[in-house]
Symmetry: C2
Subunit: 191 residues, 2 copies
């Protein structure tokens, strides 16, 4: 059956929002959309692996025979938007009433702190799977939370108060750049 384009799109949007998201996959789609439309250039960092055994084969090629996944000392994503440095971590939880803060490692928080000290734009995206809600949390807010409350889990009320709800759309799926625009606007107004 041939739907006119507009209806087709609406149908897809609805079906998408019904089924919930796959955070990593949808962020990949979003970042590809940003790249292909010259909006921003954001990459997922490779997982660091400690290689302990290598077998050399022909043509300078090597097969890894033993290796270990290492803990990331930084965050998942970084890149550039309008010349500004962007750095963030994306997390999801099945909890409905709080975000388990041990999902974010101490050295990741330290990394976000350093990004902020170097005037980069640092944040966390949290996806509440059961609520099908996605929040943008400013890096500074999460750091201040930890300073005041130590590493206690973050209640959903706090998330509603300090977080910014990210709209789930068809294209791009997770339009976090829209929120960065507002942050930059506020930055410029200060000067």
């Amino acid at each position: 059956m041939n739907y006119p384009n507009k209806i087709k799109k609406e149908k897809q949007t609805i079906s998408h929002s019904n089924r919930g998201m796959n955070l990593e996959y949808d962020l990949d789609l979003t970042n590809n959309y940003y790249k292909n439309n010259n909006i921003a250039l954001i990459y997922k960092k490779a997982t660091p692996i400690k290689v302990t055994k290598i077998q050399n084969v022909c043509d300078n090629k090597a097969i890894i025979k033993e290796g270990f996944f290492q803990k990331k000392s930084t965050t998942d994503y970084n890149g550039v938007y309008k010349g500004y440095y962007i750095d963030f971590e994306a997390k999801e939880t099945k909890n409905k009433t709080f975000f388990p803060i041990n999902n974010i490692h101490k050295h990741q928080i330290e990394h976000l702190q350093r990004v902020i000290e170097n005037k980069g734009i640092a944040f966390i995206i949290i996806y509440f799977v059961s609520l099908n809600k996605l929040f943008f949390i400013n890096g500074l807010d999460i750091i201040n939370y930890i300073k005041q409350n130590n590493y206690t889990n973050i209640k959903i009320d706090w998330i509603y108060k300090y977080g910014i709800l990210i709209e789930q759309k068809y294209k791009p799926r997770i339009d976090y750049i829209k929120i960065i625009d507002k942050i930059l606007e506020a930055r410029w107004k200060k000067y």
Copy 2:
């Protein structure tokens, strides 16, 4: 024997400049220096590895039993300086008269192009081992070179004309941020 601090430092500087550099190691030292002195936050990206076999052991830990190094689709280093996005590749050559351009992959050049389109600061550091000379080449200059000359090797005369010589020091070893300062100054003057 106890030298006064100043003399000690001078001795180290001299011995360092005599022995030449280890590009990757000296860049790591430089980036650590920038980080520890709150000057900039620049990281070496992890090498992407395609993991094809995993063995699960206790405590959610896994050993990689087979994997392959993948070609990097981007560059070696990125990060943030004063809020600006920084992205570069570092290469060395033993040639004295030219830089073999196939040292830089096509998709890395495309990546630098995208960084520039997104107003990031993109460049290449080239170390001529036999000359013990280190050059900063603006990303746009290398892209323009390739547009005009295709992928022919870059003669040292071109490097002297378009590159900026990076001073080798004791701390930090490779002070490329100094050159970025000049680039930013020129950027601001344009407005």
